[in-house]
């Protein structure tokens, strides 16, 4: 194992035991058919079976319910697009949409940049590599509710560490839960604290697949490190970037646990819903107001939002280094 001579061949995969005898016998065509033709379908069937029951069925019924006035009392009444038109005029829904988008942007943009920077640092040679990488992943181990509990304390108005530190610089205590922007920032930091390290490790994995010769060639051509980062690393990271950004988009737009815990487990999202997300809105409509039809319609609008968000992000990333 001194050098990879045949870099294309994964040499570490175990070889099949060669001592096994050839067992092909005639007259076993059914078994052969079962083994070669049916086996793939059998192997994938558990997933699709579960998808049918717990994926497709609820999805279809959510659409169906969304056309009805359907609540706890049992009244089921066809309203057509009534739920949707009502929602488009519902200020509470739009407020949740704006909150969700704002928190997503405030959280994701710094997070991707920080993760890239961190991955770049992790890609260097230093001691205690495993320990450092584990340290970076540590926040991921913490449950979302736990993160939210600690940060809620840190962002406390009267006894919080954040306000105490801000006090050193003469700032007045901020009531982080009371206003829109402060609460968005507080929640965004919870998300970033938890996910930046994870994304950095994913980026690092991507960075290590980039052939080092590219950098060596660029160095010889006199390209600065910064230039190498933007012109080699970033374009070559595109597949990883798509994965990370789409993941963050779906996670960000379905945000629920952090803001809910921030308001002591209440899905209203603050006194004036200043940090209520769309997921919390769905929860509130469905399981606090017991307006199943309305909640279902909100779920489909959330899906639409995710499709649009993912589409935009996908196109944006495709354009990074699009000349490749």
């Amino acid at each position: 194992m001194s050098l990879h001579v045949d870099a294309g061949q994964p040499t570490r995969a175990p070889m099949p035991p060669s001592r096994r005898h050839v067992r092909q016998r005639p007259g076993r065509s059914f078994m052969t058919w079962l083994d070669l033709k049916a086996a793939p379908y059998l192997l994938v069937s558990p997933y699709y079976l579960l998808f049918l029951i717990f994926g497709l069925f609820p999805l279809g019924f959510t659409l169906y319910f969304s056309f009805f006035d359907y609540d706890l009392t049992g009244t089921v009444e066809w309203t057509g697009l009534g739920n949707y038109t009502a929602m488009l005029g519902d200020a509470a829904f739009w407020k949740a949409v704006v909150n969700t988008l704002a928190m997503f942007l405030i959280a994701t943009i710094p997070q991707i940049l920080l993760a890239l920077m961190l991955a770049n640092a992790l890609n260097k040679r230093f001691k205690f590599q495993l320990g450092v990488r584990l340290g970076v992943l540590l926040p991921l181990v913490t449950s979302v509710v736990a993160v939210a509990v600690v940060f809620t304390q840190l962002y406390g108005r009267d006894w919080g560490v954040v306000n105490w530190v801000l006090g050193w610089f003469g700032a007045d205590p901020i009531d982080w839960k009371a206003e829109r922007l402060p609460s968005w920032i507080a929640i965004a930091t919870m998300i970033d604290w938890r996910w930046t390290g994870y994304n950095a490790i994913i980026f690092l994995a991507g960075m290590q697949t980039i052939p080092k010769d590219l950098y060596e060639a660029a160095s010889i051509d006199g390209a600065s490190r910064r230039r190498q980062f933007w012109q080699i690393t970033i374009p070559m990271l595109r597949p990883t970037m798509i994965f990370v950004v789409l993941n963050s988009t779906i996670g960000g737009l379905t945000l629920f646990s952090e803001p809910t815990t921030f308001y002591n487990g209440n899905v209203h999202g603050g006194t004036n819903s200043q940090f209520q997300t769309v997921s919390m809105f769905i929860f509130e409509q469905g399981f606090r107001e017991f307006d199943y039809g309305y909640a279902s319609a909100a779920a489909w609008l959330l899906f639409l939002l995710i499709l649009i968000g993912s589409g935009i992000n996908f196109l944006l990333i495709r354009r990074i280094g699009g000349n490749k």
Binding site: P17, R20, V22, A121, R125, S143, V145, V149, Q208, F283
Partner: protein
């Protein structure tokens, strides 16, 4: 091989020729970034211990306490005996749920990943595309009302069955294992096994399974953490007297909002199992992620 200290992480490094070495050497800036990151990563966890081992008066002191106190045992006792949280039940439930779901997601995904990556079959591409599409759908939020109604009619509301079954479905797992199998199991290996007369199932067991084990570890840990942390669905479908650990913390949070040490002690205990998993499998998590990428 014996001279290598960390096999999972050093494979590439050895290749870097000396000439361009400076490009990969850690600068003081690198060290600073890493040090600050680790401090930020660890601080909230450390702070959790600090508050969990104090009294409520100390917790609301100004300036806030930054060193652990001696009240941890007492506070944990209070959590465990709290009549509203059902904390131990929650802890047990979470363990059962997370282990069951993890095991089945890993097995189902490894099967499907093998089929998609290395077996040619009609409709395979379309089926895989379908998996990718379902990954885009937040099933939990989208299907929440019908799923709840389903659980009501099955009379599963309040039972942990209701939290296990819908989560056996994991598109990400299938996608990950497909990717991983493609990288870790070369076609020639499968063909060689076929020539030797091995059946598909035997190939899965003898060839695929040993090669994709790091991928399974990554998926398993991912799934375990995802399920352990899940909050929205258990909050809807479980009752406070038979909760998951997250729902138990939520009960504490909702009822004893200002009893910080109580909430923090409960929270601290809820992340202990994850820390154990993390320490036990940390090398595999990182190794699996890295190796998967290097093999590409």
């Amino acid at each position: 091989m014996t001279t290598l200290s960390a096999p999972a992480t050093t494979r590439r490094r050895r290749k870097a020729p000396g000439g361009a070495g400076s490009l990969w050497t850690a600068t003081p800036m690198t060290r600073l970034i890493l040090a600050v990151t680790i401090i930020i990563s660890a601080f909230p966890l450390y702070y959790m211990i600090v508050i969990a081992s104090r009294t409520n008066t100390e917790a609301t002191d100004m300036p806030p306490p930054f060193l652990p106190g001696g009240k941890l045992g007492e506070n944990i006792q209070r959590v465990l005996t709290n009549p509203d949280a059902h904390y131990l039940t929650g802890l047990t439930n979470s363990l059962i749920i997370a282990c069951t779901v993890t095991l089945s997601v890993v097995v189902i995904s490894t099967f499907a990943g093998f089929a998609f990556a290395r077996l040619k079959f009609k409709g395979g591409k379309i089926l895989l595309l379908l998996v990718l599409l379902t990954m885009m759908v937040p099933l939990q939020q989208m299907g929440i009302v019908p799923l709840y109604r389903l659980m009501v009619s099955l009379e599963w509301v309040g039972s942990i069955k209701a939290v296990i079954l819908p989560f056996l479905l994991n598109g990400f797992g299938v996608f990950l294992m497909t990717q991983y199998t493609e990288q870790a199991v070369p076609n020639e290996l499968i063909e060689a096994a076929r020539v030797d007369g091995a059946s598909t199932l035997r190939i899965w067991w003898n060839v695929v399974l040993p090669a994709v084990r790091p991928g399974m570890a990554v998926l398993g840990i991912n799934t375990f953490m995802l399920i352990w942390n899940d909050f929205m669905w258990p909050l809807i479908v479980l009752t406070p007297d038979n909760p998951t650990v997250q729902v138990a913390i939520n009960s504490l949070n909702a009822k004893y909002g200002t009893d910080y040490v109580l909430i923090f002690s409960g929270t601290l205990m809820s992340i202990l199992p994850l820390i154990v998993v993390f320490i036990a499998f940390g090398r595999q998590i990182i190794g699996g992620l890295m190796e998967g990428a290097v093999k590409a």
